[in-house]
Amino acid sequence: MTRVFISRDMASAALGADDVARAFAEAGCEVVRTGSRGLFSIEPLVEVETEQGRIGFGPIAPRDVAAVLVGSHAQRLGRVEELPFFAGQQRFTFARCGIIDPLSLADYAAHAGWQGLEKARGLSPQAVVDAVKASGLRGRGGAGFPTGIKWQTVLEAASSTKFIVCNADEGDSGTFADRMLMEGDPYCLIEGMAIAAHAVGAGHGYIYIRSEYPYAIKTMRAAIDASAHLIAPFTLEVREGAGAYVCGEETALLDSIEGKRGQVRAKPPLPALQGLFGEPTVINNVLSLAAVPFILAEGANAYAAVGFGRSRGTMPVQLAGNVRHGGLYEIGFGITLGELVNEIGGGTASGRPVRAVQVGGPLGAYFPPSMFHLPFDYEAFAQAGGLIGHAGITVFDDSVDMAHMARFAMEFCAAESCGKCTPCRIGSTRGVEIMDRIIGARDAAPVTVSEANGGYLGKALYSRSPDRIDVSIEAQTSLLRDLADTMKYGSLCALGGFTPYPVLSALDYFPEDFGAAAPAKEAAE
């Protein structure tokens, strides 16, 4: 019987993979459902097992079954791992994703699964923490805090009850790596959490998954049930989010698990010392925890050997939005933004010029192609006024209205603010109003500044009577900068604190969309 491999990932299903799988089963094939390989332009992808290895065909529709099985289909791709998109990657964390049956314990064990946990169990907790420190692993959820140092704090905290919490809230648009890993290699995350539990002395763990990820929730629950005997006495459970972006913020997430409104806590105390139910808690992103089995199995040096500056190891970069070859590209840090967008991503899907990319989700900056020399590295992006965040890159073509995107950033912050601090809660609403005035003034017939400021009392930046507000673009833009400053320095967490990044980067790099004169074109371009 011919064996074929077809992804069961939510993205593959959205593209019709379930119908394709059914058609192959009806044709008498043994169909193995895997995770996604991570290149969506070739999905639904069917891989046929042959003596030459797994031969890929894609995209495939149910009517293509016969042509695929005789090997004559025009979309024959050859061995998938030899495609340029995959050959250039360094898959440490996603080594198994797309290859194995995600819920098969036999597959997992046959592909080097549990080796990290086995190594860890032979080591003292301190030695495990030391290995994670030596690997240079930094938190992949956004802030880039060294994982080993966080674990050290929890290890040293004196308490008989400690928790491991996995942050699988992945709310950033343009990101899907956590989802793909949970759906495609759930035991890898479980193994990482079990290693963390051994390292700090935790007995129970939670995986907080957003409700928008029903496939991941189902797969993780099944994987936890199937592997319970292998991680015992450590135990795990899944908690489902409820559509609040701010619950990705670690302290809001802890409150949400506790059954409360997901409001941000003031720090200190650090969650590492007083986290879930007031107990010492490791809270890490999915990708941080899923990197740990490799680090233990292959050694900290193998992980730290790749990377750039203080960003060690690999990053599962996610190419999203209007991009031709969107998907997951795991690579050592240091690759440039331009290489990712143009060479690997192949530019826009629409075929129009790339105008902007947003890196790091809704709180990340928009960059124009003139910044494509930036190396993918925490420090380089921070220096350029942005962040790499969870490593999502959303590509926009030249039809984008950047003033509209700046307005959206404020609108999103207003919708998702937890309400605890004023700069975020009120500031974001005022930000939407300012953007409406800027867009209104931009789209209205041009008026001279003196006209706009008319009336013998002159007009004010702030006023209780709306007709006394100076709605000129210049005045509103300066008000926007002032507001951004207040939000950046006055907010309790990065929701209000980083919303200025997309807003101000849009304003600074694309002033013409805000009704100002276009910046002089750089000679180099």
Binding site: M10, A14, G174, G241, V323, F408
Partner: protein
């Protein structure tokens, strides 16, 4: 629903941290969380009614009114916008005859916003009665409209 809540709590425990899983269970069972259940939940978990109300209203997922027979959750986030989601949203409201965030007067279909489904390279995306749909254009929208008319 009182019996459902009682049974759920005796199977799953009545600690405070059970509140969100309970609310999910109620919504899955009944489609929404009726305000009349707030005192029942509060009493069972030994919380104030204000506390329970506060939690229900904090989370976008929880509904306080019966949803449409069909629910279309359309993604509004940046990656889908980069692929034409804003124009699609206008089209969808028009074709389905319902404003974003509303249920149609006849109760047949609700159009709800969602901020990211993690399918960010193949948008615009939606969940149609829980089923993921990608690369939505005019033709796919038409299929969705026919599906939710049934």
């Amino acid at each position: 629903m009182e019996e459902f809540i009682g049974a759920w709590l005796s199977a799953n425990g009545a600690a405070r941290d059970r509140l969100l899983p309970l609310l999910h269970a109620i919504q899955e069972e009944a489609g929404y969380i009726d305000d009349a259940l707030v005192p029942v939940i509060a009493k069972a978990l030994n919380l104030s009614r204000a506390d329970v109300h506060g939690v229900i209203t904090f989370y976008h997922d929880f509904r306080r009114r019966a949803p449409g027979r069909h629910v279309v959750k359309l993604c509004r986030a940046e990656s889908c916008q980069a692929r034409g989601a804003a124009a699609l949203e206008v089209q969808a409201q028009d074709r389905l005859g319902v404003a974003m965030g509303e249920t149609r007067a006849d109760g047949q279909v609700a159009l709800e916003p969602v901020y990211c489904l993690g399918l960010c390279a193949i948008g615009p995306n939606a969940l149609v009665d829980g089923r993921p749909v990608a690369r939505i254009d005019g033709a796919v929208l038409e299929q969705i409209a026919v599906e939710v008319a049934a």
